[in-house]
């Protein structure tokens, strides 16, 4: 009996080490740069000469305009995806029709296409359409890669919704449109919020789709980061900019997981 107890203990220790290493490595992606953003000095140096908050103010002029563009694009993409995605999710969950599976697969299609191929395609026709370096050009590029996440979240919300509530409203004389806005929409709210937040997080951080079609007028933060790294290497100011990007993303992720609920993370999984 003693040996089985020992085996169990060894098993527990191995599990503990494995989980700790995995979680630490994944969080390191965030914490290394966050930690570095407080270093004094202008070059990469361990151990640091000291700690300071100055790095967050010294990048004001260059980084914050780019950050503003990314925030705007993230929010606009969320709104645009809601407008196109909610009705589509409604039709796909409420009705049975020929070709439904095909349309369903088609609408989740952007996850099956490499972003680099899609971005190259955009580069081929955006100049002719005058959409290089424009708000709408970037918005459409971000929307196409985030739409599947919006659709999955909203569809799972519609699937969980009790249709009896809608039927009751219509029996009592509400029109179809009125039922949708007063009954259905509030009830699928969490699913829409989850889709909106996922869209925001991905659009806010997207890099591949943007680097082919951005320009000096519309230069989002992710591309700004790459340009900085390319020119100056890793500096504390750069680390501060990355830390801000990640803190914004974490805030959204936290709302998604804690406030709206973990079940809507199904939108992420395949």
């Amino acid at each position: 009996m003693g040996s089985t107890k020992l085996n169990k203990l060894i098993g527990k220790v191995i599990w503990g080490i494995y989980i700790t290493v995995l979680v630490v490595v994944l969080w390191m992606i965030f914490f290394m740069l966050f930690f570095h953003s407080f270093f004094k000095g202008v070059t990469l140096e361990f151990p640091p000469q000291g700690f300071t908050l100055e790095n967050y103010t010294s990048i004001t002029n260059q980084f914050y305009p780019a950050l503003r563009i990314s925030l705007l694009l993230g929010l606009a993409t969320g709104v645009f995806n809601s407008i196109l995605g909610i009705p589509a999710a409604y039709a796909l969950t409420r009705y049975e029709f020929i070709g439904k599976n095909l349309i369903n697969t088609f609408l989740l299609g952007p996850t099956m296409v490499p972003a680099i191929s899609l971005a190259l395609g955009f580069l081929a026709f955006y100049p002719q359409w005058g959409m290089m370096d424009s708000f709408w050009g970037l918005l459409f590029a971000l929307s196409i890669v985030t739409m599947p996440y919006m659709l999955r979240s909203v569809m799972s919300a519609f699937n969980e919704l009790d249709t009896a509530l809608e039927e009751a409203a219509q029996t009592l004389g509400a029109s179809r449109l009125k039922t949708f806005f007063l009954i259905t929409l509030p009830l699928i709210g969490p699913g829409v919020m989850a889709g909106f937040l996922l869209t925001f997080i991905i659009a806010f951080n997207e890099f591949t789709m943007i680097i082919f079609v951005y320009g000096p007028k519309w230069l989002p933060a992710s591309v700004w980061l790459w340009n900085m790294l390319h020119m100056y290497g890793i500096t504390p100011g750069f680390a501060a900019a990355v830390a801000i990007m990640q803190l914004v993303s974490f805030a959204m992720l936290f709302i998604l997981v804690r406030v709206i609920g973990r079940r809507y993370l199904q939108g992420v999984a395949f």
């Binding site: 085996n7 994944l26 390191m28 395609g121 955009f122 026709f125 591949t208 082919f212 997981v257």
Partner: protein, 281 residues
Amino acid sequence: MPTKRKRWLNIVIPLAPIIVFYLIFLVYPIAALGYHSFVVGEGGQFGLQNYLETFAKAGFRRTLGHTLLIAGSATLFDLLLGYPAAYYLARRQNWIADLMQLSLLIPLYGGLYVAFAFMLVLLPNGFLNSVLIWLGLIEKPLSLLYTRPTLIAAFGIYGLPFMVYPLRAAIQGIDPALEEAARTLGASGWQVLRQILLPMSTIGVIGGVLLNFGWNVAIFSIPLVLSFKGAPFLSLDIYFSTRYNIRWSYVATLSTILFAITFGLSYLYMTLVKPARSNTA
């Protein structure tokens, strides 16, 4: 039959805008590139000449081989690293599982950040070398950053969720009673893994490998930051070919090859693995 026509409209009106949007911004760009890759010369005839020319180049074959090698190694790395994580997520529901799930979301949107973190840790004057020198374990900084194992690890961490989610779904479909029964009858942990878990989660392993490899092949941001001379990638080749004087027939061919790999593997997953999984679960 007014009600019948109305039902028809109820389906078409909500779906039409999104389908038009997809046709313009998803189908058209991909199809246009595919078309360009098959057009030969000025006359506009169709042919496989662009592909034959591309494959005839030793440089392209090396790039393709290297891309597949790194992507494949990262998939293997993810399978080994991700299986225990998937098992834990499938079987436990506690705060550790919550934390793990949240952690897995970090790489999902931030390929660029994964690359930055690797850079900061592994640079000659970076975190790891400084700590090792301070501890007196090494005298000169190790050159760890621009190496293939680093590329594989960075790819692996970025693509980990695409391995863990299909595996978790497959393991969730296995009745825990089977493991307990085997345990009661005296099977060791290794035997349970070999004889129960692995055979019954084969569909998850296949699904994870398809999704993960398809994703790895086309990663762009990580090689852009972490790649070095002698480590070519298809995605980088596409990007740098667009910087000056684009030869559309060439980049369209490269992009269509990449598209075919990723789309083919994802489509296999969608049509074979996913339905099989929902039947058993």
